[in-house]
Symmetry: C2
């Protein structure tokens, strides 16, 4: 760990880097699963970095966590049981727990160290881990294996994982989507972060197509996440019954929000033409 480090750069690939000036590298370790860093950044505040990839920051984390959680939860009429796979920083669980109708939240994170570090260095982000509401159950373990053991149980599954290299790899497979479908009840919804529609066009296309083999409705939506190197981030939703393009929600949105609102619930699914070309036709512009 070098305390003199002045900058930290995520290389999205060898051709594109995003650099943040930091005042201090607060923590660095190799867990059994990944390389974990916590840096005190200036532009976005404190940052969590896994295997060199910017995961989240104190200032922008609300975008990712509101958008992965509330979009699926608000389109389900009454989500009672929610499974989060990954999400060890606690941000996703924090947002899910705000929905009064949700009675049980299971968080299945493979890397205990991420949870520990989040509790130490990111108190607001990890508030649900530090003071778990009664309905939140935290499991350290492999979400892929766990999903195989469950049948007709969850209303919503959120896959809050890192990139499809390292521990997240098996979460981007046909087998996982098939098992997730089985683990969901009628009306169930799966959402997975599905990377940048600019940098990972083939991956996004493949996720979209693969989900379609296990679910009748698959939709991709977009959020602006500045800590990721293109700023444009996708989530892909697989749904058994409810279609985000037509469903209307009557439950009130938990307040306050900093990114999500009920108009964004619809507009996030409006895709630029080049993203439609990618998803539906496998035509890649970037």
């Amino acid at each position: 760990m070098s305390e003199e480090k002045e900058f930290i750069t995520e290389w999205a690939n060898p051709n594109l880097g995003l650099t943040a000036r930091i005042t201090k590298l607060l923590h660095e370790e190799q867990s059994p699963f990944q390389h974990i860093q916590v840096a005190e950044g200036i532009q976005y505040g404190r940052m969590l970095i896994l295997d060199g990839v910017f995961q989240t920051s104190v200032k922008d984390e609300f975008i990712y966590h509101e958008m992965i959680a509330h979009v699926p939860l608000m389109m389900h009429p009454c989500p009672k049981r929610v499974l989060i796979i990954g999400g060890g920083d606690g941000g996703c669980a924090r947002e899910v727990c705000r929905h009064g109708c949700v009675r049980q939240v299971d968080l299945c994170e493979i890397d205990e160290k991420v949870m520990e570090i989040s509790k130490t260095y990111f108190p607001a982000l990890s508030s649900a881990l530090r003071n778990p509401p009664e309905k939140l159950h935290i499991h350290v373990g492999d979400g892929i294996g766990y999903v195989k053991t469950v049948e007709d149980f969850y209303d919503v599954i959120l896959v809050d994982c890192s990139d499809p290299v390292g521990p997240g790899e098996g979460l981007f497979t046909r087998e996982f989507y098939k098992n997730a479908s089985k683990a969901l009840r009628a009306g169930g919804i799966l959402v997975q972060q599905s990377e940048s529609p600019i940098l990972h066009q083939r991956l996004l296309h493949d996720i979209f197509q693969a989900m379609g083999e296990s679910f009748p409705i698959v939709r991709t939506y977009i959020a602006n996440i500045p800590i990721y190197p293109t700023g444009m981030h996708s989530f892909t939703m697989a749904s058994k019954q409810y279609d985000p393009l037509t469903v209307s929600c009557s439950r009130p949105v938990p307040q306050p929000m900093k990114y999500y609102n009920s108009q964004i619930q619809k507009s996030a699914f409006v895709l630029p033409e080049f993203v439609k070309d990618c998803l539906y036709r496998g035509i890649y512009s970037f």
Copy 2:
């Protein structure tokens, strides 16, 4: 000019940099107005860089140019005369000229060198400059001064300028908006690129408020532009009569598009809560 240069970095500010690997710095010069670079990038192809700021690239330029041009043009029932201030790379003019109803396009660029360089190094981007349609009139000069001389003439004014330091500075003032209003006909619309809602919150707030002193309707809209360091870019529209939130357009959209479509015409105006806080309440999250 160093041909060995391997990377080029835009420092949005001292705390945030976006780096592109390049194979060659193709051109570099100081014009009377700004420092101009053309680099052969790998991720986004050839890039135009002004005063160290990434302006556009071969691969992503369609996003900026479709979104600055078609959003205002498609909400006006019959735009006949369009003024472009800045836009020396020609991309905005190229998109505007696709609308059959437009009879006259005046392009007023202060820096002749940008036009020359675009014609030399960016043939597709500058197609309208290289083979100007009869309706396109190219002027080298100061758009701010020009607008003062015009009254009740244009249907749409597009301000396709660089950042509000350097030659673009006077385009972000109350006086300019007042003169632009005078230069517009009844039903006229002004659109200006208004920077990142994440990095330039105070500036965006000020533009929004200042436009409101000369126009009854002011709306901000968003596009995802990966070559800018947060990926989230805003345009702010000032309108005399037509409100983008309620107007409906009956003219067909020029085809093909790679980003814009008629759903984006509406969804681009749906703003995250933190952007609304910035615009309406002067509350800054970043």
